[in-house]
Amino acid sequence: MREIKASAITQAVARLCQEANFVLGEDVLSALKQAHKTEQSPLGKEVLSQLIENARIAKKEQIPLCQDCGIAVVFLEIGQEVHINGDLNAAVEEGVRRGYAQGYLRKSIVSQPFSARINTKDNTPPITHIEVAAGDQLKIIVMPKGAGAENMSRLAMLKPNEGQNGIIDTVVRTVEDAGGSPCPPLIIGLGIGGTAEKAMLLAKKALLRKLAEPNPDSEIAQLEKEILAKVNALGIGPMGFGGTTTALAVHAEVMPAHIGSLPVAVNLQCHSARHKEAVL
């Protein structure tokens, strides 16, 4: 048994909230630079160069990459040999509270979302996903998720025989209907199989994969490639101003499903693809 103090978790979460909002991942930045070389639309190219410059300013001056500093989605992978000394949920929540206060990040959470919509003023509660893993370490991933792209996400419970074409149609239609609103170029998280809620969680976790690293299963990797080509043929382009770069990557995760089901979840990620991790 290895002891980890709840206060260490709070500190890590607070730091990751800030780092994620100020420092765009190298993988995303290099994909934007690559897209800037290949984009055919002059307006699209201009957007991409603004985004590259924006990332430079954000990192240098610790200004958030985007004013939508997101709802804090926190993934915890807890080794089964770990004992947490203190209240885990409270520790994560306090980390978000401190990170958003210390980093001058925008507080974007409202309680009673269908009526009063009162801002909680500290960006809590976070969305926390906990998994138990082997070993004696604790992995924390903080993913600030903005509303613009999240709002354009979609779940389709396909008939099993709709198969691959049904999946491709679902994703292409989702991206087409979303147009410029989710801030393309996008990263498309695709969850296939499981149940309704599990498919969406797979789609979200797919967004955490290093950008454009294909799924290790060659059939799934082929599907990712095919969808990316179709999405980029839509012409939507950066910010919807037209162009050949509507998405930077499609990341698909797949798991078994019921004989009567083919759940397909699409979770869209804007170009401000923010997530940072720490291992305690």
Partner: protein, 195 residues
Amino acid sequence: MPQRPPQGGSAINIISPIDAKIIEKLTIGTHVLISGVVYVARDAAHHRLIQALDRGERLPLELKGQTLYYMGPSPARPGQVIGAAGPTTSRRMDRYTPRLIAAGLRAMMGKGSRSPEVKEVLKKYKAVYFVTTGGAGALLSKTIKKVKVIAYEELGAEAILRLEVENFPAIVANDIHGGDLFEQERAKYRRENKK
């Protein structure tokens, strides 16, 4: 007015509130650098403005001829004017926009396309919609020189603000002729065989 070459060309400098004669000359794809006063409002503030109009109350800002920016900034650090300050999705404001334009609003800035109803109202009242780059909040914050909270401070990031901006970069997305930048540009780069 021809579309300027987006890279290396020059943008038109305009002052906000924007003169009605200038709005009439703007066409989609035109790059502008906006200086002057713009007001900030997003979802919750729009809801309250419409409630105030319904009750026949005086609005906390005079809308006549003004420009609204759909935005909710991150807080300023000590010594900064404002935090990140990029646009939010305009389509969420579509249901409120016709009322506000009828009440005098003449220009809007945000991201993403507008509804057919909004485009009709832009033609009818000779108003304009500009887009700017979403997710470029740090970059755009540099053009904002002064910030004042005008109303609904309790809404936090959703309060109505009065900004003074200098050379805020935007592109005309919908003009008084019914033009739509998104449709026009998407058609140029769309390749068939998509399905």
